[in-house]
Symmetry: C2
Subunit: 121 residues, 2 copies
């Protein structure tokens, strides 16, 4: 199957729910996911996976124990494995995630925010 | 070391040469690289690595044997391993690459376009 060009804007337009990552691409052992965030998430960490956040729209705060990270559109950060973090979005934020296929959105926790069997757009 | 927020625009402003990827981040077994393209590259493939191109600025054509892929800002494509491809940029294009650390820019070829020991920005 030949590769398909994916428009981030077109894919973001396909959903409105928050905190529910969608798979839009696959690169080796990683997924490219899109997620819309609004409000506060839970503190968590990923035991074995680094996680990359690239902000496309809005302003994202990622709290870590030692430092608050503030991301505007066109900014990215890599949260290394094992580091506790909590994403906070005062207003809606659109984010591209790059992370291993094994990554669970709530990392070391399983709770009502956990999403498994992610939708593919 | 706490994670650092990286501005794509600030990093792109640090260099002007074409076809010479710079490393700006590390996520698990992959690098995040920035590259400026202008003109035609060589036909090549990556024997073992998928390669993701995300266009930030300008318009990128990626030729493949069966299909021409045209990417505008905010578009991405994943070129699967083993697929022959040739990036072509009529005017300057700014691209974010997401690929395994082992990936060589000219893939299966080593020639005057090959870049090893990539600079970190």
């Amino acid at each position: 199957m030949p590769p398909e060009v994916v428009s981030l804007a077109e894919k973001f337009a396909l959903f409105s729910e928050h905190w529910s990552p969608k798979i839009v691409g696959e690169v080796n052992e990683s997924y490219v996911k899109l997620v819309k965030l609004k409000g506060e998430f839970v503190w968590h960490h990923h035991p074995n996976e680094d996680e990359m956040f690239l902000v496309v729209k809005g302003r994202l705060l990622i709290e870590t124990p030692g430092k608050d990270l503030l991301l505007d559109p066109g900014d990215f950060v890599v949260i290394p494995m094992k580091l506790e973090h909590r994403p906070v979005a005062k207003d809606e934020v659109e984010v591209v995630l790059f992370e291993p296929k094994s990554t669970l959105n709530t990392g070391n926790l399983e709770n009502e925010r956990t999403r498994t069997k992610l939708e593919r757009l």
